[in-house]
C-alpha cells in the first residue's frame, strides 16, 4: 500500500489547519454523526438562505482523513447553490466508492481530488465520508423544514 497516495500533502495540510472549523450561528439544522467502527464523530451545522449554502460549521474528532475531508467539504460547498452542492457531493461520494477506478475531476472537486488515493483503502472510505454524510443529512432536513414551513 502506498502511504503517500493516501496521505497527500493537501490532506495533511487540511488536517493540521482545518478550514471553517468550529460551530457557528446562525444555522437551521445541526446533526451529529458517528463512525461506529472507530468512534470518530462530527457535529455539523448548516445555514441555508434562499437555496444557497451560506455556512457549514462543525466540531469534529477524528483521523486525518475524516478531518481533512470535512475541511475540504466546507471549502467546496460554502457559497454554492444547494443543488450544485448536492452535485459536488455525488461526485465526491462516487470517487470514494470507486475503489480507485474513477479519475477525479479537479474542476469540480478542487482539493477534494487529493482523496482519490483514499478510495484504494476500503477501511478509510468511511472516514472520508463522515463529514459529507453528515452534511447531506443536515441539508435534507433543512429542505424538509423549509418545505414544511411553506405548506
Amino acid at each position: 500500500m502506498d502511504l503517500q497516495s493516501l496521505y497527500q500533502e493537501i490532506i495533511l495540510d487540511h488536517y493540521k489547519s482545518p478550514h471553517h472549523a468550529g460551530l457557528r450561528d446562525p444555522f437551521e439544522v445541526e446533526v451529529h454523526h458517528v463512525n461506529p467502527t472507530c468512534g470518530d464523530e462530527v457535529t455539523l451545522r448548516v445555514h441555508v438562505v434562499d437555496d444557497v449554502v451560506v455556512d457549514i460549521s462543525y466540531d469534529a474528532e477524528g483521523c486525518s482523513i475524516s478531518q481533512a475531508s470535512t475541511s475540504v467539504l466546507t471549502d467546496l460547498l460554502i457559497g454554492k447553490k444547494v443543488d450544485d452542492a448536492l452535485e459536488i457531493h455525488s461526485t465526491f461520494v462516487e470517487l470514494m466508492q470507486s475503489r480507485g477506478k474513477v479519475e477525479p475531476d479537479e474542476d469540480i472537486l478542487e482539493d477534494g481530488i487529493a482523496f482519490a488515493g483514499v478510495a484504494k483503502f476500503p477501511g478509510r472510505v468511511k472516514c472520508a465520508l463522515l463529514g459529507w454524510m453528515a452534511w447531506k443529512d443536515a441539508t435534507a432536513r433543512v429542505v424538509v423544514d423549509v418545505e414544511g414551513s411553506v405548506t
Binding site: M1, V34, P36, T37, C38, G39, F121, P122, G123, R124
Partner: protein
C-alpha cells in the same frame, strides 16, 4: 427385479458432483460404502466449501469491521461479499437485509423476541394472535409459544389433512383481525409438503399481519426469490445447503427490520455506547452482536456459489425426479405407510414412513448396518407425528448428490429389515 424403472431424465451428473464431496467416498463399518439419505437433517459439504474456509483461516483470518490493517480489510471484504452473494442467491433487494445468525432456530427466535420487545405496529400484546401450523419444526413452534406466554397472546394453528397438506378450510377465521404474525414452514422437513404460501400470505396481507417463512428446507432445494415471495421475514440455515455449521440467515424487508428493536446487545451492533445508554447501528449490524460467524459466512458464500453453478432449478428437478422414483418404489414395500403426500406434487425430497411391526429406531439400525444413513425419531416435529398418531417415524431424504442406485439400496434395505425382524 423391480417393476419401476430408474429415472434417466431430469437428474444431475451425480458422478461429477459426488467427486466434490470427500465424505461420499468414505467406507463405513464392514467396508460398506456410505449411502447418505439424511440430508434434510444436515447436508454434506463439497471440498469447495471446506477449502474456502481453510484458505481464509490460513491467509486472511482477522476480525471484521473493526481493524484498518490489511488482514482486517480483506476479512471484512470477504464477509461482506458473502452477504452480497447470499442476498443475490435469494434475490434480496438489498444485501443489508441479510442478517447472519447461528442457525435457522436463532433467526426465528430473533423475530419472536424482537416482536415481544417491539413498540408500535409490530408489538405483540395481550389478546393478539399468532398463527403457525401443526407441521412446523419445533424451532418454529417453541419461540411462538414462549412469545404467546410472555405477552399473553394466543397461539393458533392450521391443522394437517390426512394427505399431509395444510388444512386451510378455516383460513379466514384462523387468520383474522387479531392476527399480528403468521409464521409458516415452506417445505416440511417431516412430511415433505410444500405449503401454499401464496394463499396464506395473501390472507395475512388482508389483515395486516407480519409473515415469517421458515425456509430451512426450501432454500436448499429450490430457487427462492424473497422479493417475489411477499413475506416479511425468511429464515434458513447454512448446514442444510452444503454450507458449514454455525451459520443461519434471517432475511427481512428493510422497513420491518428497521422497525424492530435489536435482538442481542453488544459489540458491533451499536452506534454509540455510554454508561447511561446506547444507540444502534444501521442494518445489518444492528442484529449482529459480537464477533459474527465470519468464516462460516465465507463458507456459506462458497456453498451458494456451488449451488448456483449447478443451478437451483436443476437441483429442484433432481430432487423431484428422485423423490417420485422413491415414492413409487416404496409402494412395493408391504406394511409401509408414508406420512405425507404420496405423490411427488408440491413435495420436497424428505419421505417419512412407518413400517408395520418395526420401530423406526430399529429400522434405521438395520439400514445403518448396511451403510444406509436415514433418520429415525420425531424429526423435531412432534405435533405432526401426533397428528398421525405416531411417536416417531423413519425418514429418507435426498439431495443433489443422491443417486437412483441409492434409492434402490434403501428399498433393498427395507426388505432386509423386514426379514431381519421376521415380519416379511
Amino acid at each position: 427385479m423391480t417393476a419401476v424403472e430408474a429415472p434417466s431424465h431430469g437428474l444431475l451428473d451425480t458422478d461429477r458432483i459426488r467427486a466434490d464431496f470427500p465424505i461420499l467416498g468414505r467406507r463405513l463399518d464392514g467396508d460398506r460404502p456410505l449411502v447418505y439419505l439424511d440430508s434434510a437433517n444436515t447436508s454434506q459439504k463439497p471440498r469447495q466449501v471446506i477449502d474456502a474456509m481453510t484458505a481464509h483461516y490460513e491467509q486472511i483470518n482477522s476480525n471484521v469491521g473493526r481493524a484498518v490493517h490489511q488482514l482486517g480489510d480483506a476479512s471484512t471484504q470477504a464477509y461482506e461479499v458473502a452477504r452480497v452473494k447470499i442476498a443475490a442467491f435469494i434475490n434480496a433487494p438489498d444485501a443489508s437485509e441479510v442478517i447472519f445468525t447461528k442457525n435457522s432456530s436463532e433467526a426465528l427466535n430473533l423475530v419472536a423476541n424482537t416482536l415481544s420487545w417491539a413498540h408500535g405496529d409490530h408489538a405483540v400484546g395481550a389478546g393478539d394472535e399468532i398463527v403457525i401450523t401443526e407441521m412446523e419444526h419445533h424451532s418454529n413452534i417453541v419461540p411462538w409459544q414462549l412469545l404467546a406466554e410472555r405477552k399473553d397472546a394466543t397461539l393458533r394453528w392450521f391443522g394437517i389433512t390426512d394427505e399431509g397438506r395444510l388444512d386451510l378450510s378455516q383460513i379466514d377465521s384462523v387468520i383474522n383481525d387479531r392476527t399480528k404474525v403468521v409464521s409458516v414452514v415452506w417445505v416440511s422437513n417431516m412430511l415433505g409438503t410444500v405449503t401454499p404460501l401464496e394463499t396464506i400470505i395473501r390472507r395475512a396481507r388482508e389483515v395486516g399481519a407480519l409473515v415469517v417463512v421458515d425456509a430451512s428446507q426450501a432454500v436448499p432445494q429450490m430457487p427462492v426469490d424473497v422479493a417475489a415471495l411477499g413475506a416479511d421475514l425468511v429464515a434458513f440455515t447454512g448446514h442444510k445447503m452444503v454450507g458449514p455449521t454455525g451459520i443461519g440467515v434471517l432475511w427481512g424487508r428493510t422497513e420491518v427490520l428497521d422497525a424492530l428493536p435489536p435482538f442481542l446487545g453488544g459489540g458491533s451492533m451499536i452506534e454509540t455506547v455510554t454508561m447511561g445508554g446506547s444507540t444502534w447501528a444501521p442494518l445489518p449490524a444492528k442484529f449482529e452482536a459480537g464477533t459474527p460467524p465470519i468464516v462460516e459466512a465465507i463458507g456459506l458464500a462458497a456453498a451458494v456459489d456451488y449451488l448456483s453453478a449447478i443451478g437451483m432449478d436443476r437441483i429442484a428437478s433432481h430432487e423431484h425426479v428422485l423423490t417420485a422414483y422413491a415414492l413409487e418404489r416404496m409402494r412395493e414395500l408391504p406394511g409401509l405407510t408414508i406420512l405425507g403426500p404420496t405423490e411427488a406434487v408440491d413435495r420436497g425430497g424428505a419421505v417419512s414412513f412407518e413400517l408395520d411391526g418395526i420401530h423406526p429406531h430399529d429400522v434405521s439400525q438395520v439400514l445403518d448396518s448396511l451403510g444406509i444413513a436415514v433418520r429415525a425419531g420425531h424429526h423435531c416435529a412432534k405435533p405432526a407425528h401426533a397428528r398421525f398418531g405416531v411417536q416417531s417415524s423413519t425418514r429418507a431424504s435426498f439431495y443433489l448428490y443422491t443417486t437412483p442406485a441409492e434409492v434402490d439400496a434403501f428399498i433393498d434395505g427395507i426388505h432386509q429389515t423386514r426379514r431381519f425382524f421376521k415380519v416379511a
